[in-house]
């Protein structure tokens, strides 16, 4: 019995698992927007973190950053 009979189907099966994962990603809409993600990676996450910190810092002091409108 040659190893081919096991290896080949196994290889194709592994590939098919990848294909299924891809199918799932497409179905759940991860490929719907191809524009924003490509530019989003250029933006540092740091800003987000700082904002969160700002918010925490400003909240106890009566949320001075909130505009009073």
């Amino acid at each position: 019995m040659s190893v081919l009979y096991i290896a080949l189907p196994l290889a194709i099966l592994l590939g098919a698992v990848g294909l299924l994962a891809c199918w799932f990603c497409i179905r759940t809409g991860q490929y719907d927007d191809l524009e924003s993600p490509s530019v989003r990676i250029l933006i540092d996450d740091q800003d987000q973190r700082r904002n969160a910190e700002n918010e925490k810092a400003s909240e106890p002091s009566g949320r001075s950053t909130e505009a009073s409108d």
């Binding site: 098919a16 199918w23 719907d32 933006i43 009073s68």
Partner: protein, 859 residues
């Protein structure tokens, strides 16, 4: 305060009414300056002065002053003018209406998804979205709003997905926060836009591509090992196993990603219209069955790898074509969304509530403010005003509306608020019925067979015939095995993929170039159809003319005109708007505050009277028996409106107003005629106006095949359809809702930007700039495109003729054939990309941004 620079780089200032001094605006961020901030940053102003900036600049904070100084230092001051130009400051009225709609999500028809932890998910439209920085700005606000869990902007359709906790924060609060950045959030009906359907199709394409690529790649390496095994002497049982594996993959490829070809082939067979997919499907079927037989018999080669890669290549072509059309459709959908479709409903208790126009019902009472478009049909129950009906009827003169007048949705209220009882909304309204008509016209349009499909069909029939012949002949001469081998070689090398790819590629390239020239083409087939001259029907109002009244003559003193304009600034009548626009063009520095105006009195139908700088001025239509006019009204007597000005009861001046013809119209029509097109005029306007226009055109040397007036939308469809057999290709160019059905019924409908966005949905070509010359460019490009397609076909057919005869003679081994196959594909690809569409010569540079009169303000 005021010092805190948020993520937006805009200072958050106290905007309570008492603290804001409106005359002080920060030079960088444009926000009002509070007394508090002013006090602390007066020093900033003087520093700024020292750096050589203009002296009257004030800044709200050091951050802004620094940013300004930097921008100024780098010589990037254009930034400010560009910013102001693009700044879509969300108007307070609009924002309030939107807030009301957001407050009642159910009523506005926004689907809300509830999660188990009490949060909700909704998707809203964002306007003013331009680039990645915009989406970053919006998303960065999220952490600073309590209860707003997540916000993701999707650039492709300009929407924002919100997850929020309804107990802590409402969408209205989030929208208010984002509005302060200059972006408006509004409910959106994605289902209705067709975006959802398109997205499903796009997903289908992705999945098809992925699986086709997977199957093609795998069957290819199995094929390689088979060939290699043949050379090195593989164990026969292994060869059989590999063959079966390849066969399985190829079969899957034909069944899953390849099934779209079988389906469309089946549909085209049922409809009796030949389509390129018929031969493609036949080729696939024959190849698959043949290879299965080969695998089962255990001799002869199997060509599943070729089949799988053929399926993959074809799907790539399909995807490219779909993508181009999807993008155009998307930009259109976004544009249509801008057209605020909110209506103000008055409840029984007298409170007003904003609702999306498509949720109005009969017997609702609505308020229509000046400059708004009526959202539904109805009867006026309160108020008097003037309506601009040009979009619905094509009539260029405004119409009076008083209590009891039947009004039609889609007309614009020009003057004063109206309270209207809705009699028909949605599908039952006039606009709804027109849309239904458009749908019918689209469905009834005989589909023109695309060039590629015609040639492709013939090609594959020929190839199949040759394949059968080859098989039979070689069967008789050399037996079954050799016959199969040669037939497969022939089928492989003659793969129609070059043909199937050429046309979509050339058209896609052309679509992309057209979009750069501000011509949006949604249906690639339209480009092909424009290559053969036929007849072009032009709508008059708004297409060949500006669609708005303009002052073409003024007799009197300039000083008087200035006073007249000041008086007219109290009116929203189209005549008044035209006079003000004229005054502003004469003297750009003019403004209405130069004169003291009081006691303004408007009598509907009788003009406007008021006291300007102490003198009583009345403006009204010229009475027939009035004093002799000091205007030469010979040339425009029919199509124009004359207004007389009286000061203290004495006749002092006169104005002639006219819906002016676009200056480029005659040149454009002549160019079209030179290219062999017949030209016709088709309008809903009154006979005298249309005939006057026709006469002007004929005088200028543009022969018209017809000059039709008072055409209802039904008449327009009939005219357009009837002219098809006589003239061949029928093109309709129009801008209004009344043209929409005719645009859909014509072979090619070209919509020019007007206010009637409904017609844009159904016209395959849309020209958002008002450039009539784009039509000429389009027709030239269409010829070039078709020529490019023919060239690709010629190369690919020559190549095929040579290789086919070699294969039939048995000189090409199937393996060599498979190696040759991509050659024709690559050559076609190169030619398609190099094809000249929209040649640069004759391009008059970027068109002026706003060639027409000020755009009509709607909404």
């Amino acid at each position: 305060m005021g010092m805190v620079v948020r993520e937006s780089h805009r200072p958050v200032v106290d905007r309570s009414p008492t603290a804001v001094r409106l005359d002080q605006v920060c030079a960088h961020c444009g926000l009002g300056i509070t007394s508090a901030t002013e006090g602390s940053w007066l020093g900033t102003r003087s520093t700024a002065n020292n750096e050589g900036m203009e002296s009257d600049l004030v800044f709200c904070c050091r951050g802004c002053a620094g940013a300004y100084a930097l921008i100024h230092e780098l010589g990037l001051d254009t930034f400010y003018s560009l910013r102001d130009q693009n700044a879509s400051e969300v108007s307070p009225v609009r924002q309030r209406r939107r807030s009301q709609m957001l407050a009642d999500l159910e009523g506005s028809g926004v689907p809300v998804e509830h999660f188990s932890d009490g949060t909700c998910r909704i998707r809203l439209a964002v306007d003013g979205l331009h680039c990645a920085a915009c989406s970053w700005l919006i998303e960065s606000v999220q952490p600073s709003v309590r209860g707003w869990k997540s916000g993701r902007v999707r650039m492709s359709d300009a929407t924002l997905e919100l997850i929020y906790d309804p107990d802590v924060v409402s969408p209205v609060e989030i929208a208010d926060r984002i509005a302060r950045l200059g972006y408006g959030l509004s409910p959106v009906d994605l289902e209705h836009e067709g975006a959802q359907g398109d997205r499903e199709i796009q997903r289908g394409h992705w999945i098809g591509l992925a699986s086709a690529a997977f199957l093609a790649a795998n069957s290819m390496w199995i094929a390689i090992s088979l060939y290699a095994g043949e050379a090195s002497g593989m164990d026969p049982s292994h060869a059989i196993f590999l063959r079966w594996c390849g066969a399985l993959l190829g079969l899957l490829s034909a069944i899953f990603p390849g099934r779209i070809f079988f389906r469309s082939a089946w549909e085209s067979l049922r409809a009796g219209v030949p389509h390129v997919d018929v031969p493609v499907a036949l080729g696939l079927a024959v190849g698959t069955v043949g290879s299965l037989v080969g695998a089962a018999l255990g001799h002869g080669n199997v060509y599943f790898d070729s089949l799988a890669s053929l399926v993959f290549l074809l799907r790539v072509g399909r995807y490219i074509q779909f993508r181009a059309q999807y993008r155009t459709g998307m930009s259109l959908a976004k544009l249509l969304r801008m057209n605020d479709s909110a209506a103000v409903r008055i409840r029984e208790d007298g409170t007003r509530q904003a609702v999306p126009a498509n949720r109005l019902r009969s017997n609702d009472v609505i308020e229509v403010l000046p400059c708004q478009v009526l959202p539904a049909d109805g009867v006026v129950i309160e108020g008097t005003s003037v309506l601009q009906t040009a979009l619905i009827t094509g009539e260029s003169r405004p119409v009076q509306a008083v209590v009891g007048t039947q009004v039609v949705g889609g007309t614009a209220n020009m003057q004063s608020p109206l309270i209207v009882r809705v009699t028909a909304a949605g599908e039952n309204s006039r606009v709804g019925k027109l849309q239904e008509m458009v749908r019918q016209a689209t469905a009834q349009r005989t589909p023109l067979v695309q060039l590629a499909d015609r040639i492709g069909g013939v090609f594959v029939m020929v190839v199949l015939g040759l394949a059968c012949g080859t098989f039979l002949v070689w069967c008789a001469l050399a037996g079954y095995v050799a016959a199969t081998e040669r037939t497969v070689a022939l089928l492989t090398i003659a793969c129609p993929c070059a043909l199937a790819l050429a046309a979509p590629l050339v058209i896609t390239v052309a679509l992309g170039r057209a979009a750069k020239e501000q011509i949006w083409i949604r249906d690639g087939g339209a480009l092909e159809r424009l290559a053969k001259p036929g007849v072009i029907w032009f709508d008059k109002t708004g297409t060949l003319t500006y669609g708005e009244l303009q002052v073409i003559q003024w007799r009197g003193e300039l000083e008087l005109l200035s006073r007249v304009a000041a008086l007219e600034s109290h009116s929203e009548h189209p005549v008044g708007l035209a006079i003000i626009a004229h005054m502003q063009s004469v003297d750009p520095a003019w403004n209405a505050n130069l004169h003291r105006v009081h006691d303004v009195e408007q009598r509907y139908g009788h003009g406007i009277t008021g006291s300007v700088d102490g003198q009583r001025i009345s403006i009204g239509s010229m009475q027939a028996k009035e004093e002799r006019l000091p205007v030469d009204d010979t040339s425009h007597s029919l199509a124009s409106q004359t207004i007389s000005i009286q000061v203290e009861g004495k006749f002092c001046g006169a104005l002639v107003l006219h819906d002016r013809q676009r200056p480029e119209a005659i040149g454009c029509l002549k160019d079209l005629r030179d290219r062999g097109w017949q030209i016709g005029l088709i309008s809903g306007d009154s006979a005298e106006l249309v005939d006057a226009m026709g006469a002007t055109l004929r005088e200028a040397g543009v022969p018209l095949v017809a000059c039709l007036s008072q055409q209802s939308p039904e008449d327009k469809i009939k005219t357009v359809v009837d002219s098809k057999p006589t003239y061949g290709t029928t093109v309709m160019v129009g801008d209004g809702i009344n043209d929409a059905a005719a645009l859909a019924a014509a072979d090619v409908g070209i919509a020019i930007r007007g206010g009637g966005e409904i017609c844009l949905r159904d016209a395959p070509i849309y020209i958002p700039s008002h450039q009539l010359h784009s039509i000429v460019r389009l027709i030239d490009a269409s010829r070039q495109t078709v020529r490019g397609i023919y060239r690709c076909f010629a190369v690919s057919l020559t190549y095929n003729a040579i290789t086919l005869s070699l294969a039939m003679a048995g000189w090409i081994h199937p393996l060599v054939a498979a190696l040759f196959m991509p050659l024709s594909g690559i050559s076609v690809l190169a030619m398609a990309l190099l094809a000249k569409t929209f040649p640069p010569q004759g391009n008059p540079g970027p068109p002026p941004r706003n060639p027409g009169p000020p755009q009509r303000k709607t909404g």
